[in-house]
């Protein structure tokens, strides 16, 4: 059986006024169903581009990308996404922000009109899982950055996607909030059993959350090393094994940066 996400020798380049900028050159990556994967690497190595190829927002210029045994040829609605910028809709309350994907993805979109209350309850439920009970009727500007990011995770997961794509989702948060959200995300993952791809520069975050950490080379990116994190969850970031994996990854990155 093919892996859930199968990227084989995929390349991508951006064509702009300044000419062609290669972003990815021959990425090969296999991700099993239900696996949590992190991609780390020097900044500008095309990690975000990789997510766009998997989501179908961009199509590989060479090589193949397939998800759930089907070649990706356009946006997939089995995907949820969250970014560093939580991008809430300021005119909607928290719960209505979370409901947004359901207004687009079928079969929910056509059911939403008649079963609004049931869907709202579902949104409130997931909000309480991430610790936002009592904030469902607040507007985004009344929430802190960490709360907005929690909401953004809820929005990414409300339609129960099979694949969650995270582009440095905790990059703009303070260290305490970040670590709290690792736990929140891990709990959601254990509960909903989706496949996750996390792009990050935070090696501790990668090792805390991921089953496998892939290291990306500098631009144009490809995967140079993969390290399996075989530690029991929830993980202790101060344990010797944990620290040694982080250190090994750090050495990998120093090597690929070539400095």
């Amino acid at each position: 059986m093919r892996p859930f996400v199968d990227i084989a020798d995929a390349s991508f380049n951006y064509e702009g006024r300044g000419g062609v900028t290669p972003a990815l050159a021959g990425v090969t990556l296999r991700i099993d169903r239900g696996e949590f994967v992190a991609v780390v690497g020097p900044s500008g190595c095309g990690k975000s581009t990789l997510l766009k190829l998997v989501s179908g927002l961009d199509l590989a210029k060479a090589g193949t990308v397939s998800v759930a045994e089907r070649a990706v040829s356009g946006p997939l609605n089995i995907v949820g996404m969250a970014f560093q910028n939580p991008v809430m809709l300021p005119w909607r309350t928290t719960v209505d922000n979370v409901l947004l994907p359901l207004e687009i993805v079928e079969p929910h979109a056509s059911r939403l009109r008649t079963e609004r209350q049931r869907y709202r309850n579902r949104a409130r439920e997931i909000l309480s899982v991430v610790g936002l009970d009592g904030f469902a009727d607040h507007y985004p500007w009344q929430l802190s950055g960490g709360m907005q990011q929690r909401t953004s995770l809820c929005r990414a997961l409300i339609h129960e996607p099979e694949l969650l794509l995270l582009d440095e989702p905790f990059g703009a948060l303070d260290a305490f909030t970040r670590e709290e959200l690792w736990v929140v995300l891990e709990n959601l993952w254990r509960k909903q059993k989706f496949t996750a791809i996390l792009v990050t520069h935070d090696l501790t975050e990668a090792v805390y959350l991921a089953d496998t950490v892939h290291v990306c080379s500098k631009r144009p990116g490809r995967i140079v090393t993969s390290r399996v994190v075989d530690l029991p969850r929830p993980r202790d970031v101060y344990a010797t094994e944990f620290v040694s994996i982080v250190r090994a990854l750090k050495d990998d990155i120093v090597e690929v940066r070539g400095v």
């Binding site: 946006p75 991008v87 809709l89 300021p90 947004l100």
Partner: protein, 256 residues
């Protein structure tokens, strides 16, 4: 008086102060009333001509509102088109900018040739001067949507129409209302320009007729009515704006 009540009274205090100075200047320098009538003379003229003034200002108001309604409808549609299609943006936008830079007074005679004098040229002029800021602002609202938000929507398989409905329209509402406040005052300008040139009713026409009779107090009474109408419409739209886009204004801005 508390600070809040004083703040509410401020515009009235300013107006009263201004009128007092005006009255004083007219009396002290013995300014002839056909040059600059004093506020009391204007008030008398307003009272004496209340019937015609109400009638003519009703005509002006109606023309302005019809023109503005067309401007809102076409302006929003055009703004959505410009903001969501590169072809329309590249092709149509420069044409619109060029068109907008034509002084609208210069277009009124053309309308008169086509439609004769009266209501139609006034409505068309009101529409022409007021639709451009609406279109530009709605387009700007669409152009400033966060790219991540578009990615979220596209990744879910949302089509352009749905993105426009769910994100684009609400996102551009604060821009739309900002432009509406400009547009309503401009629409009055448009109507009155046209009425002064080509009409036999409306405040603009009334003022031209008064000018011909050297009835300067009546001209000023006309100006006063226009100002009042403008302020009322502005306040009305500001109120609707507050109700509709409360989410866009979170603080006092730079005001201290």
């Amino acid at each position: 008086m508390t600070g809040k009540r004083l703040e509410d009274a401020l515009p009235w205090l300013f107006v009263i102060g201004l009128l007092l100075m005006w009255q004083l200047a007219c009396v002290m320098f013995a300014i002839p009333k056909f040059v600059l009538p004093s506020p009391t003379l204007i008030a008398v003229s307003l009272r004496d001509h209340v019937g015609p003034i109400v009638e003519h200002s009703a005509a002006t108001l109606a023309r302005t509102l019809v023109g503005l309604t067309i401007a809102v409808a076409l302006g929003v549609l055009l703004g959505l088109a410009i903001g969501s299609s590169r072809i329309i943006y590249r092709g149509l936008y420069p044409v619109l900018v060029g068109f907008n830079s034509i002084p609208k007074v210069a277009v009124v005679p053309v309308f008169v040739i086509w439609f004769g004098i009266g209501t139609i040229p006034a409505v068309l002029t009101a529409f022409l001067v007021s639709f451009f800021p609406i279109a530009v602002n709605v387009a700007t609202g669409l152009a400033t949507i966060e790219p991540e938000l578009l990615d979220v929507m596209r990744a879910l398989g949302a089509r352009k129409g749905k993105i426009l409905l769910k994100i684009g329209l609400p996102r551009s509402m604060p821009y739309f209302f900002a432009s509406l406040k400009i547009a309503v005052t401009l629409a009055f300008v448009g109507t009155i320009i046209s009425e002064t040139v080509a009409a036999n009713s409306g405040i603009g026409y009334l003022m031209m007729a008064a000018t011909a009779n050297f009835d300067t107090p009546l001209v000023f009474a006309g100006l006063f009515v226009i100002a009042v109408l403008g302020i009322v419409m502005y306040a009305l739209f500001a109120l609707i704006e507050q109700r509709m886009t409360f989410w866009a204004k979170r603080g006092e801005g730079l005001m201290t």
